[in-house]
């Protein structure tokens, strides 16, 4: 299943909206899983990190002591899956005392006032 090729011939713009901190719930990990599986479908993928979702990209995560997978490293590998549009909302970072340097991967910053337009440019919204 994980290797299936999509031959339906449709290409859509799919945005993954990530708004929750990692580890407290499973959603951050599952969003990433879906993006990785979805890569086989050759769609136009955007990942958006809002609110506590910005913590998913925080450097220096060490959940191993809790026997959790450290999936934060995987965000750096997304490029190999042709997932290159990673957007982080500027205000979400600032509200949490974070800066772009605190993140594991290069992202594009988006202002809060432009988030609605970014979402409205998409065909499908998957929220986690």
């Amino acid at each position: 299943m994980e290797d299936e090729e999509y031959t339906g011939g449709i290409e859509k713009k799919i945005i993954y909206v990530n708004r929750r901190a990692p580890h407290g719930t499973v959603y951050a990990l599952e969003s990433l899983e879906t993006v990785l599986i979805g890569a086989a479908f050759d769609q136009d993928v955007t990942m958006l990190f809002l609110d506590d979702g910005v913590f998913q990209l925080k450097k220096d995560q060490a959940p191993e002591a809790l026997e959790f997978k450290n999936f934060s490293k995987t965000y750096r590998a997304l490029e190999m899956y042709d997932v290159e549009k990673l957007f982080v909302e500027q205000e979400s970072l600032a509200e949490r005392g974070l800066a772009q340097d605190d993140l594991v991967v290069d992202v594009e910053l988006v202002a809060r006032k432009d988030v609605g337009a970014l979402i409205n440019d998409q065909d499908v919204v998957l929220s986690f």
Binding site: R19, G116, Q122, S127
Partner: protein, 102 residues
């Protein structure tokens, strides 16, 4: 290219509603279901904020979820329209995409 934004949490418990409202684009609508229906009532602490959002965006509330909570006949914000499930379906068709704010 408008979005139907679906909210299901009470603004008195979670910030989800305010986080959604801060990101609405022109033409977007908001539908309150499940615990979010409490936001549709008049005279709440967030009533004036929602009324001003309602001046720029269509606001809807799901009637069966109001009724389940004993709120069907409570006075509601003038800006909020009541829909049933068939109205929810209709809204999903008249907007280009549905965004559930979880």
């Amino acid at each position: 290219m408008s979005t139907l934004n679906v909210l299901n949490k009470s603004p008195f418990e979670k910030k989800t509603m305010e986080q959604c409202l801060a990101r609405l684009a022109d033409g977007d609508s908001v539908l309150m279901i499940e615990d979010a229906v409490v936001a549709a009532l008049a005279d709440t602490a967030i009533a004036s904020q929602l009324e001003s959002v309602g001046a720029a965006h269509a606001l809807y509330v799901l009637e069966p979820d109001l009724a389940a909570r004993g709120l069907s006949s409570s006075s509601r914000l003038a800006a909020v329209k009541v829909v049933d499930y068939s109205g929810f379906v209709e809204l999903a068709t008249t907007h280009e995409r549905v965004h559930s704010w979880l």
